[in-house]
């Protein structure tokens, strides 16, 4: 299933809330956590990452990955945490609303 537009940012923030990770690790995580239901073009998380870094929600640092290669690690900032909290709240509200309508139908 395709990702709903705009949710990618939120998912990335959620994944990063578990700790710093590099780009392809995040992509893997999303796939694993969603039990393969969400198919994301792996490359498409990079524009999202750069955009969020630009906005100050995550920060990046070069480091060593598990197989000893240089990789860029992303980490949630305080602003990012606040952003994640507010986006999750909104998401839950919207889903409740949609669920209510669908349930009633």
């Amino acid at each position: 299933m395709e990702l709903l537009p705009g949710t990618l940012d939120m998912l990335v923030l959620r994944v990063l809330s578990g700790g710093p990770m590099h780009g392809w690790g995040i992509a893997q995580r999303i796939q694993i956590l969603s039990k393969d239901i969400l198919q994301v073009e792996e490359g498409s998380i990079y524009p999202a990452l750069y955009r969020m870094e630009h906005k100050g929600w995550i920060k990046a640092e070069w480091g060593q990955s598990e197989n000893n290669r240089r990789a860029k690690f992303y980490e949630l900032t305080k602003d990012g945490q606040k952003q994640l909290a507010s986006e999750s709240k909104d998401w839950i509200r919207i889903c409740a609303a949609i669920g209510a309508i669908m349930g009633k139908a």
């Binding site: 792996e42 999202a48 070069w62 919207i94």
Partner: protein, 885 residues
């Protein structure tokens, strides 16, 4: 709705602001480190790809398949890279730079077009700036005083008379005492006494101003100080402030000028201050030397001195309120004649900017605006043509995936490059040409240093350029947004197949250009004709070789009437001995005095009193002034004899066809007395613009106090140095008698027409430029049309058309468009020139000769502009065309 990012992102306002600034900072940082960021991004993405490949290999795929599968699941790497670049946010800046370089390159390749459009824009912008600077300055310029809207000149006006700003001295005290609540008043009185530096009388005079003037106008001298409150007390007024120009001319601009002495009417004054270089002073308060005003009003001599009064209204007071208070001011100690004289006059407050302004500046400004419009229309036309020529290139851009916005951006950047280039070139042009133009217009008063440059002009050029960019960008934008993208590729040739709509729009622009040009030219033509008529007006006497010397005794200087007359006689003898002088006469500001004469009540045949202007002159006046006697003789000047000479007009009004000589007429000069008419003189105008009026000439001995002019008749026009000679001669007879001005009548006439002359010169320049621009515009359009129709011409030649046919076809288009433009322009001109009526001298706004001349010249210009491309069409090489297909 679900998934709408904006909806999710609804956080508190503050974090939005923080995010914004973070974004801006990040953008800047990214821009500066862009190559490093680019490298890192590429590395990161590549790594991810390799990781995926490795995983696929680990799962058992072949290396090539693994790589292929990895690429597929990663997504299109080029597009992702592009999106990442977008996310950084500095893309727009880098892109802009690329656009600029591209625009510059493509413009430099099409240098013919670039030069033409730059030439057009620079001409339009710089000429308009010059016009704005020279004439608009007078109208829009804001005064450099604090709260200038509170400043007014106090004047008076009765029902039919002109506005008068010259008041008796005692008015100031009356206003200050009785109207202090509504305004603060200061006054100026010319001090037409001799100014002597080191024994040499100087050709200037001092201006006496109230001490509070400096504070009221916020004037700060560049050296020394201005006047303070104690300076206008009698005895402490021996101080002067001089202008920058006077300082440079007479003291060499040296900083030790403070404390130097200038003798003004036998009073030694110290220089205490020098005004700033371009210090502006209100119209009546100007001068090279400022001295504190000490007023000692004399009820017997009201206008000793006469003063100009400037008022600064108190905060919150409206002009209506002030006028109401001023109207109630009572003047004590007025003699009887003055009470009648001032009875019907109402006070008026006039904006201090109005003095010295002339309505013809509006015409110049309008012409400037028209010229700018012509330049802009030209530029838009040229841009549209270029756009058409580039259709192919732009269509290709669309085809490789460019959006409309991207193509539009290219065009807009090109407009910016052109407008900026035009702006910079215009600034340089104006900077260097402004002093030259000022010098040409205003004469040697202006130095040629290119230093006449304020921020206002710079701002104007930039604003015009911005407007230029906006206007030139609109047309191509509209064109682009409505165009059919693919048609550019489908066409056979590079420029064929444009819609009729576009071609009609271009023709419309040409028509508009012609219309604007016509209106401008007609306005110019009318002003030029009017000025010509003004210059050739019949004055009633020959102005050549006549010099007027205005003299005045210092205020309060007591010299009895007998002594005064004796002195004047003495001076007359001295002056007659000067080389070239044929006759010398003294009078009360007679001969071309701009209606500044004494109006006396004369008893008419039917018993009514009529106000008739007249001059008090001596027996020599007829010789000196060159008046023509029609009947009888001139005044004998014998003391006690009540003689009068009347002019023809007055003779016919008062006496009809009867011979007035020997008749008696009652005039109220100092009481109603009978005067004997001894002669009738020819009519003389009192100024170039006024009509011939009824006039009388009475003997000067009656009012010696009012005599203030010497009229000299020379063999030819005065030579250089004559004025200094006159000054020295008079100074030799009396060191107290101040010489205000020595001016030939010819010069006086020239000066009185300065505004018209200026307007004419400027308008002629504008007309030439407008014509040039119109020709360029028409040439470009016709040239382009010819180029795009070459194939058609080739075909026509092949089927038997000859050169003449082709030329006629091409020229027909250009002339038709111009013709329509002329018709429109003429209609508009007829409507607009109505407003010029007050500026035109004996010229009707609908002067058929002017209109015809303008139409002819524009058609001729259009013919020339279309003929060259037409010839090119006629020389079409059919064989070459067919081969090109």
């Amino acid at each position: 709705m679900c998934g709408d990012r904006r909806h999710y992102g609804q956080s508190i306002g503050a974090s939005h602001v923080k995010a914004f600034w973070h974004t801006v900072g990040s953008q800047l940082r990214s821009f500066l480190m862009r190559s490093r960021i680019e490298a890192e991004m590429v590395a990161e993405l590549r790594q991810h790809l390799e990781e995926l490949t490795r995983r696929n290999i680990a799962e058992g795929m072949a290396p090539d398949d693994a790589r292929f599968a990895a690429q597929r699941s990663f997504g299109g790497i080029a597009q992702i890279e592009e999106r990442c670049r977008d996310a950084h946010g500095f893309v727009w800046l880098a892109q802009l730079l690329k656009d600029f370089t591209f625009a510059a390159r493509s413009l430099s390749r099409a240098w013919g077009y670039t030069l033409t459009i730059l030439f057009t824009l620079v001409l339009g912008i710089s000429v308009t700036t010059l016009v704005y600077d020279i004439s608009g300055w007078m109208i829009f310029h804001s005064l450099p005083y604090p709260h200038p809207e509170q400043l007014f000149f106090v004047g008076a006006k009765d029902k039919q008379g002109p506005e008068l700003y010259y008041h008796p001295a005692l008015f100031l005290e009356a206003y200050r005492e009785q109207a202090a609540d509504v305004a603060q008043f200061v006054a100026e009185a010319s001090n037409p006494t001799n100014v002597v530096i080191n024994g040499e009388p100087i050709a200037t005079f001092a201006s006496n101003v109230s001490a509070e003037t400096f504070d009221m106008l916020g004037i700060k001298p560049s050296l020394g100080r201005g006047f303070m409150n104690g300076d206008d007390r009698d005895g402490s007024d021996g101080v002067v402030v001089i202008s920058d120009r006077f300082w440079k001319e007479h003291f060499g601009g040296s900083p030790d000028v403070l404390g130097k002495k200038i003798t003004i009417d036998q009073q030694v004054c110290l220089v205490i201050g020098v005004l700033a270089k371009n210090q502006e002073l209100p119209f009546y308060f100007g001068g090279d030397i400022l001295k504190p005003l000490v007023l000692k009003p004399d009820p017997k001599d009201l206008f000793a001195p006469g003063i100009f009064i400037m008022a600064r209204l108190r905060p919150g007071v409206t002009t209506g309120q002030a006028l109401a208070v001023l109207a109630k001011v009572k003047f004590a100690k007025l003699p009887m004649w003055a009470v009648t004289y001032f009875k019907d006059r109402r006070p008026i407050l006039s904006d201090i900017r109005n003095a010295g302004r002339h309505d013809s500046f509006w015409v110049i400004l309008a012409a400037g605006a028209f010229l700018c419009s012509i330049a802009w229309l030209n530029a838009i036309n040229l841009m549209l043509i270029r756009l058409l020529k580039r259709r192919r290139e732009l269509s290709i851009r669309f085809a490789v995936g460019g959006s409309r916005w991207q193509v539009l951006r290219v065009l807009l950047v090109e407009c910016v490059v052109l407008s900026s280039a035009a702006c910079i070139i215009s600034i340089t042009t104006v900077y260097w040409s402004l002093p030259i133009v000022m010098r040409a217009l205003y004469g040697d008063d202006y130095s040629l240093e290119a230093g006449f440059w304020t921020w206002g002009e710079l701002k104007f050029v930039v604003e015009l350029s911005a407007l230029t960019w906006a206007l030139t960008a609109i047309a191509p934008t509209v064109r682009l947004l409505r165009s059919d993208v693919s048609s550019g590729l489908r066409d056979g040739g590079p420029t064929t197949g444009e819609s009729r709509h576009a071609s009609r729009f271009r023709t419309l622009l040409v028509v508009l250009q012609a219309a604007f040009a016509v209106v401008l030219l007609i306005g110019t033509g009318l002003m030029v004709r009017s000025f010509q008529r003004l210059q050739h007006v019949e004055l009633g006497f020959n102005p050549v070789g006549k010099v007027k010397v205005r003299v005045q005794f210092p205020n309060g200087y007591e010299l009895g009437p007998e002594a005064k007359l004796q002195l004047y006689e003495h001076i007359r003898m001295d002056l007659s001995k000067l080389p070239g002088v044929r006759a010398v006469s003294y009078a009360e500001d007679a001969l071309l005095n701009d209606r500044n004469s004494y109006d006396a009540n004369m008893l008419m045949a039917d018993g009514t009193l009529k106000r008739v202007p007249g001059d008090f002159v001596d027996p020599e006046f007829q010789q000196a002034g060159g008046l023509v006697m029609k009947r009888g003789r001139w005044l004998s000047g014998k003391s006690g004899l009540l003689e009068v000479v009347i002019n023809e007009r007055l003779a016919s009004i008062r006496f009809g066809n009867a011979d007035p000589v020997g008749q008696s007429v009652i005039i109220d000069l100092s009481g109603k007395k009978p005067y004997t008419v001894v002669g009738v003189a020819g009519d003389v105008r009192s100024s170039v613009r006024s009509a011939m009026e009824a006039w009388f000439y009475a003997p000067a001995w009656q009012r010696p106090t009012l005599i203030n002019t010497f009229i000299l008749r020379l063999d030819g026009d005065p030579e250089k140095g004559f004025s200094a000679l006159v000054r020295r001669t008079i100074y030799g007879s009396s060191t107290r008698l101040g010489v205000c001005s020595v001016q030939s009548i010819g010069e006086q006439i020239d000066v009185s027409m300065w505004a018209e002359r200026l307007a004419c010169t400027m308008l002629k320049g504008l007309a030439v430029v407008a014509l040039l621009l119109t020709v360029i515009g028409l040439y470009s359009v016709v040239s382009f049309t010819v180029d795009s129709r070459m194939t058609e011409f080739g075909v026509r030649v092949a089927v038997g058309a000859n050169d003449g046919d082709l030329i006629r076809m091409v020229m027909h288009r250009g002339l038709a468009a111009t013709g329509i433009g002329i018709l429109i322009g003429v209609t508009v001109a007829v409507g607009m020139t109505r407003f010029m009526r007050s500026l035109l001298f004996e010229t009707e706004p609908f002067d058929p000769i002017v209109y015809l001349a303008v139409a002819m010249s524009l058609l001729l210009a259009a013919a020339c502009a279309s003929w060259l491309p037409a010839r090119r069409a006629a020389r079409v090489d059919v064989v070459k065309l067919l081969r090109a297909e």
